[in-house]
Every structure is written in structure tokens, then in C-alpha cells.
């Protein structure tokens, strides 16, 4: 099957399935010749609309690279990648996704509200409209009262919530998050996980969430993609057996622990792979 035909088939398939992200034999290498690094190797993956998918794997296995490829921040070396049935570039231009980086990446000279309105300012939305939009998104992450504050007046966890509110600005159907809570303490992290879960449940967003914490992945996800060490491959996609609505207490249930064990085993298998 040649490429255009394959492409047509994939687009068709993802449209049928309503897939948010389809990767097919996706490989990404950095650099050329001897010094080239293979970051991702033959990734085939389908992420359905409304899913909460965690990417988990040892550090350096290409989780960030995969997320960046979906966001059109990195170009695939070979294979196919579709976002909402479009090329990543078309999806980016269509403002199909919001991206939350590992660090909050707020602009220190802008107030919280003006950080959240930044993307809307860039697309030329009117002032009143974008202010209303920012308020809505800040309320959604529970920071409605902090609109007038500046980033340095907020804790790390609050800053990351602001960056989530900002990522919601375009009303994207897809939210890409790269270890957003990685730098935070356990207690703050629990709170934010619950918050994120409720946000996802309420909005019907598709979420792709990079983490290297097993409990975090199990708590949040409908699907857990376990990746092997470099070059990253998909070891296993584990579908969650937990109910859609989650509570922090559920992390003690046998079902939760069993799922955690499955993820851990898959991670170990991936480890042995290399």
C-alpha cells in the first residue's frame, strides 16, 4: 500500500472511530548519521475522543517527544501521525489542542488574567470577550480570585493551574500535558490530580498526560500507554477497569492496586526489552 492510500485509509479509520490521535509506525530520530539518536521507534497508537491517556515510561524514552510531535513542535522522521484526522500542522493551525509544559512558562510581566488571555490576544479576540473567557477558565481551575495577581505571587501548583487555564483558552478538544505536576510535592499533586480529573470529567476533553508516577497514571487515566526505554516503543496499552468517576480514596482499593501492578510489570518488561 503506498502512502497516499494508507493516509486515506487512516484518515477514514480515525474519522470513523472519532479518534483524537492516530499514530502509525511513527519514528522520530534526532540528528544525522553516527550521532543520530532514535527517540521513538514504530509507535502505533490510537487515542479515542474523550479518553484520558497517560504516557508512562522511564525517563528518556520519548514521552515528551511523542507529545511534541502531536503538537507539531517536532517533525516525525517516518510514519504517520494524525490529530483529529488532520496533520499535526493543520491541527495546530486549527487550534485543536492546548499544551501544558513541564514548567508553567508564564510570562512574569503579565498578570494571571493577562497570561490566560495571551493566546486569545494573539488571535485578535476583543478585549471584553477574552476577559470573560479568561475568567471562565480561571474559575474552572479554581483561581478566579487570583486574576489580578502576578505569577511570582503564586505557588508552583497555582502557577501550573494558571498554565492549564491558559491551555483551555482556545476551547481545544485535546489537552496535551507534559508532566505538569512533576515538580510539585505529593499533597499539592494529589489535590491537582483530583482537580484535573474533575475538569476532564466535566468538559469531555481528550487528555494526553505524560507522567512517570504509576499512581498518578492509574488514578487519572482511561488508558495507560506503557513505553519501553530508548528508543521508545509502546510495550502495552492498558485499559483502565476503574469506573469513570474517581475519588482519591479509591487508590487503596484492590482494583486500583491490581492495575498499578499491571503497569509496573509492563514497565519492567519494557526495561528488559532493551
Amino acid at each position: 500500500m503506498d502512502a497516499p492510500e494508507r493516509l486515506a485509509e487512516l484518515s477514514h479509520r480515525s474519522a470513523l472511530a472519532g479518534a483524537a490521535v492516530v499514530a502509525d509506525n511513527l519514528s522520530i530520530r534526532f540528528g544525522q548519521g553516527e550521532t543520530a539518536t532514535a527517540a521513538l521507534s514504530d509507535i502505533s497508537l490510537t487515542i479515542g475522543q474523550g479518553d484520558f491517556v497517560s504516557l508512562i515510561g522511564p525517563s528518556g524514552c520519548g514521552k515528551t517527544t511523542l507529545l511534541r510531535a502531536i503538537a507539531d513542535l517536532v517533525q516525525p522522521t517516518s510514519g504517520l501521525l494524525r490529530v483529529n484526522g488532520m496533520t499535526p500542522e493543520a491541527a495546530r493551525l486549527a487550534r485543536a489542542y492546548g499544551y501544558v509544559f513541564q514548567a508553567p512558562a508564564l510570562l512574569p510581566w503579565r498578570s494571571v488574567a493577562r497570561n490566560v488571555t495571551l493566546p486569545l490576544e494573539i488571535i485578535g479576540m476583543g478585549r471584553a470577550e477574552r476577559q470573560a473567557e479568561a475568567k471562565r477558565n480561571l474559575d474552572l481551575v479554581g483561581l478566579g480570585d487570583f486574576a489580578g495577581k502576578f505569577p511570582w505571587q503564586l505557588s508552583g501548583g497555582m502557577q501550573q493551574r494558571v498554565s492549564i487555564a491558559r491551555a483551555l483558552s482556545f476551547k481545544p478538544s485535546l489537552l496535551l500535558m507534559d508532566e505538569p505536576f512533576g515538580a510539585l510535592d505529593e499533597i499539592t499533586r494529589d489535590g491537582l490530580n483530583l482537580h484535573l480529573h474533575e475538569l476532564w470529567a466535566r468538559t469531555g476533553l481528550t487528555a494526553v498526560f505524560v507522567t512517570h508516577s504509576i499512581p498518578e497514571a492509574v488514578f487519572l487515566s482511561t488508558h495507560i500507554v506503557v513505553m519501553s526505554r530508548r528508543p521508545g516503543r509502546v510495550v502495552e496499552v492498558i485499559e483502565s477497569t476503574l469506573p469513570r468517576a474517581r475519588r482519591l480514596e479509591d487508590r487503596e482499593t484492590p482494583e486500583f492496586l491490581a492495575l498499578s501492578k499491571r503497569v509496573r510489570t509492563a514497565l519492567h518488561d519494557g526495561h528488559g526489552h532493551a
Binding site: 507539531d72 493551525l93 512558562a105 498578570s111 494573539i122 511570582w152
Partner: protein, 287 residues
Amino acid sequence: MTQKILPIVTVLIAVLILWYAAAVWLNAPQAEALMDPDQPHGLWALAQACWSMDRPVLPAPDQIASALIDSVFGFPLSSPRNLLLQAGYTAATTVIGLIFGLIFGILLAIGIVHVRTLDRSVMPWVIASQTIPILAIAPMLVVALGSMGVTGLTPKAAIVAYLTFFPVTVGMVKGFRTPDPLQLDLMHTYSAGEMTVFAKLRWPAGMAFLFPSLKVAVALAVTGAIVAEMPTGAQVGLGARLLAGSYYGQTMMMWSALVMASLLALAGLLAVTLLERGVVLMRGGRL
């Protein structure tokens, strides 16, 4: 408040005491020659004579102050002998030169940050441009330009601009490059073009570097304007007064022009500081 003012006042008093002492030391030979040798006089009388000479080597601070007040209020503002009028000429040269230096410096920095070939080809020339001792050749340059028909404010402002664009370019190149890869990626996820990235990210990030550069530029601009006013034939400005004072041995005139020049530089720095405060205020207390 007292804690801030006390050290300043202490230093000021120390400087004044040293100044009066230095005036006695430097003026004594001439003062002694002027005094009646037959009449016995004490040290205090000598000191007083040193502090009230018409053409002292070093005038006493109170003499400079009264000369300054006299040159400002003693003549109508339209008189060329009014020092405020002369300071106005220098200020005009400084401000116009500074504005052009600023615009040119910023445009150059924008080019260097955005065009790789400019970074390689122009940056070395920017640095080389400052190895020319422009202050030393400024009077020559003004005369040369004058013989080509370029007279008045233009050649002087050009020298000021030449001196001031450098700190602005160096500072702004650094400032425009402060946004980190994460912030640039963020803008890419918004599909923002280079212009937008500049307006929303590079320019505001560069602000923190603009004000230090501007302060250096202001000090350079005042010096440049005064030196550019010095060549023979120059009629106006504090530089011309400084030269005339030195030519005719009018130390008092020189010193008042000098003090006026410092006040001008001070006013410029104050203006930049106020501007900076305004921006900081708009940014919630930090730059």
C-alpha cells in the same frame, strides 16, 4: 529617611571642607601676590582672599553657586549669556541624538536577533565602531561636516546618536534573546508569527535590559553633546561656554557650565528612572 540622608550629607560636608581647603592651597600663590605685602596678614585673611578672587584657579563652592545663579537669573532667557538657554541647546542635542541612537540601536538589535547573517556580519562592526575614539575626533568631525554644509544641530546630534546606539544595541540583543525555548514553543503552539513573538515575548522581555542601557546612554549622550559643541566656530551650548571659559581664563564660567552639565545628566537619569518606575508599576512591582 534619616538613615538614607545622613551618609549623603556626611559625604557632602566632607567634600565641601576638602574643596575649600583645596581652593586655599591652589589659589594661595596668586592671592598672596595680590595682597599688600607691607600689611601683616593672618592665615584666615589669606584664606578669605583665596575664596573671593575674581579669576581663581579653583573657585570656592559658594562662588560657583553664585556665579551659576547669576548666569541663570542675571540675564533674560533670550540672552546668549543666560546659562539656562545654553543648557537648553545642549539638552536639545542630547535628546534628539539620544532618540535617534535609541531607534537605530533597537532596529539594529531587532535585525541581529532575527537575521542570522546580520548577527555574524554586523555585530563585529557594532563593536568595532566603538573602538574609534569618537570623542577625540568629534570636534574635527563637526568642522568637516560643517564645511560640507551640514551645520547646526544635525552633526552634533549625529555624534550623540553614534555614541548612544552601542549600549542600546548590546543591551537589547541580550534582552530580545532572554525568552527561553519553552516560551518560544508556547508561542509556536499558538501558531504565532515572528512579529507576534516579538511584540508579545521578545519586546516585553527586553524591557528589563532597556533601562540599564538607557542610563549608560544618557550619560554618554550628555558628554557627547558637550564635546560636539566644542570646536572653534561653535557658538552655542554648554560645551561652547566651557571652551570660552577656558580660553579666557574665566574659571567661574567654566565651573558653572560644568555644574549645569552635571545637572542636565542628572535630570536625564531621573527621567529614565521615572520611566522605569512607571513600567515596573504596570508590571505589578517587578521588571
